[in-house]
Symmetry: C2
Subunit: 120 residues, 2 copies
């Protein structure tokens, strides 16, 4: 409680990809950190908007009709209901803001699903 | 809609201090950018938790019983109901994440209050 969070220190605590870690909670929302590499699964979140802030690397966010390239110190908000697929040709570190209810794979049936997230 | 936000580009759009600008909205929350310099007013938010992420500079967050120094790429969540005072001995750039209902001065009666925030 009331402890600051240093992003670099937190990112040193894990190496796995596509496995978000909870680093903060406020107003029913979670702040999460994740390392991404490769292609994720197409999915959408029916009731949650999702913010992707790129801390390191370059994230390609694919939509059905376009791709948005998100560089370091840039963020993109993916509105609820919009199908998307994060793609990281090289490793990317991201900070996520989203409701505590958000499941990483949204409506997709995928082995990439993470139901119990660690807090670090 | 679905446009990425580049923090550096947004920070170039304004110079005034203690005047948060809205740069994103999701799940009833706002993402805001602000430049801080000097001492703000003591205040609290009765129903809103507030996240301060330091993009540039060093922020001193004063509480009644301690001060937390927040450096670049660190964030602090101030829980609802907790009195705090941001102090920036030199200019600090911050990204805020908080409910759309949040007033910058909380419960304080201050001329620093900003009721209508610009979206940039």
């Amino acid at each position: 409680m009331m402890e600051k969070v240093n992003l670099s220190q937190k990112f040193e605590l894990f190496t796995e990809h596509w496995s978000p870690k909870i680093v903060g909670e406020l107003n029913g929302q979670h702040v999460k950190l994740a390392k991404l590499l490769g292609e994720f699964v197409w999915h959408k979140h029916d009731v949650e908007d999702e913010l992707f802030f790129v801390v390191k690397g370059v994230l390609q966010m694919e939509f059905r009709d376009k791709t948005v390239t998100i560089n370091e110190n840039e963020f993109l908000i993916v509105p609820r209901g919009v199908e998307h697929r994060p793609v990281a040709p090289e490793e990317v570190w991201v900070m996520l803001f989203e409701p505590a209810s958000t499941l990483n794979t949204g409506d997709a049936d995928s082995e990439l699903k993470k139901e119990k997230l660690d807090r670090i």
